[in-house]
């Protein structure tokens, strides 16, 4: 591995915490519907960047962290993030050839899948729940993706982490 593993783990943990903060920033109810899935995006970033170090366990831990903060139905985000990570794992060989727009499309569908799974799990476990499924986070996540990749790549380059994921199309 070209980059030192300790440094990479440190940065991935740090970025998940920043994602968590963005996930928690209080927004008005309509704005909150459009909030991208920041943590899932960051998990995807690290999985794309270095699939040998960040895999399903990383996704699962990040999901559990979000569960602790959401504070109900423990394990809900953990299982969904782990499943999404598993799906990404399946097409890992092809990921190297993806340009940033291609990645954004993938992100759109993966966030949509995560929304669907979250929704169904909540329907199963929370009796009498009648929330509606929202597609909005998937759209905003996909729009945000190229910018996020660009920013994190730049940031990590200044911190001495070399290898980065494709940000050209």
């Amino acid at each position: 591995m070209p980059e030192s593993s300790q440094l990479a783990y440190l940065w991935s943990a740090g970025s998940v915490v920043i994602g968590l903060l963005l996930q928690l920033v209080p927004l008005s109810s309509t704005m909150a519907l459009w909030r991208p899935q920041f943590i899932l995006l960051i998990v995807f970033y690290w999985m794309f960047r270095n699939p040998f170090m960040h895999g399903i366990t990383f996704a699962w831990l990040s999901g559990l962290l979000l569960d602790i903060f959401v504070g109900e139905l423990f394990g809900r985000h953990a299982i969904v993030f782990a499943l999404c990570a598993y799906l990404i794992r399946l097409i890992q060989q092809r990921l190297h050839h993806f340009g940033v727009l291609h990645q954004a499309m993938l992100v759109l569908f993966m966030v949509l899948v995560s929304q669907l799974l979250l929704h169904s799990i909540t329907l199963i476990f929370r009796v009498g729940w009648d929330g509606s499924l929202s597609v909005a986070p998937a759209i905003t996540s996909a729009i945000l993706w190229p910018f996020m990749v660009l920013v994190i790549n730049r940031l990590l380059k200044t911190q001495g982490l070399g290898q980065s994921i494709s940000s050209g199309s």
Partner: protein
């Protein structure tokens, strides 16, 4: 992968069907409160900026507006005092029990639920300030919700607009009782099982009825915005707009109901 999925599934199951995770929650809340506090920083800084950089004219306008408001409120309070005295006198005549004054604790909102379908907020008072589960929460304009989880120095409040929440109310005009339920929308509540013969109109003010023993009596809940007869449905479709500014209030009041205090002090009321 399978192992992790099973662990998550197991967690979900024990969280839903047992109460084993209850002791863990306060401990986790200790962990999450600082992060919630940091996440609300941008908003705080924004507000600080708004408060620090204000033009003199704006300030003067604000002061004169508040002076007028204070004047009007003072005027009303004079009448209130008279009415309260009269009320006590009349109640004495009727041999009814005296109405008790509730006391409140001001609290600040530090976090909102990241899940838009779940209407909960986190406020900065907890066990240390004698907050208890089931305590009613108000803002300046009306009833807002109830405390559902208490941690050391913060607590979680379920808002009346959450789709799992219902509270007993009555129409201020004629005392008709009903149940107001949340719909997962900050701007709307609904009344269930209102028969078509019920005397309820658009514009009616609804207050908490105190039945059910959870909320104190007489706090404003909302105003009726629509009463519709849906054909084929035996009940009216009644919607109300909450009086409290549920998604905007930054400061909330935790009510220590006088009845709760009576409950803890057996000598009171004799």
């Amino acid at each position: 992968m399978l192992l992790l999925a099973f662990v998550a599934l197991f967690l979900l199951l024990i969280d839903t069907y047992t109460r084993w995770l209850q002791p863990v929650r306060p401990w986790l809340a200790e962990l999450t409160t600082p992060i919630y506090w940091i996440s609300s920083l941008p908003k705080r800084i924004g507000e600080l900026g708004d408060e620090t950089v204000v033009s003199r004219a704006d300030l003067e306008a604000e002061i004169s507006r508040q002076k007028t408001e204070l004047f009007i409120l003072k005027g009303r309070i004079q009448r209130m005092a008279e009415l309260a005295a009269e009320n006590v006198r009349l109640r004495n005549l009727l041999n009814a029990t005296e109405l008790l004054q509730d006391s409140v604790l001001v609290s600040e909102l530090i976090g909102v639920s990241p899940d838009p379908s779940r209407h909960t907020i986190i406020v900065n008072r907890g066990e240390d300030h004698a907050v208890f589960v089931g305590q009613a929460v108000l803002d300046a304009d009306g009833l807002m919700g109830q405390v559902v989880e208490v941690y050391h120095s913060s607590s979680k409040v379920l808002l009346i607009s959450d789709s799992s929440h219902a509270l007993p109310v009555q129409v201020l005009r004629n005392g008709v009782r009903s149940i107001a339920e949340g719909m997962g929308d900050h701007k709307r509540l609904t009344l269930r099982f209102v028969t078509p013969t019920t005397d309820i109109k658009v514009g009616d003010q609804l207050v908490s009825s105190g039945l059910g023993g959870r909320y104190p009596v007489g706090y404003p809940v909302g105003t009726v915005t629509s009463v519709d007869m849906v054909s084929g449905n035996p009940y009216l479709k009644v919607e109300l707009e909450p009086s409290a500014r549920i998604d905007r209030s930054r400061y909330v009041l935790l009510v220590f109901s006088a009845i709760e205090k009576l409950g803890t002090n057996p000598d009171a009321g004799k």
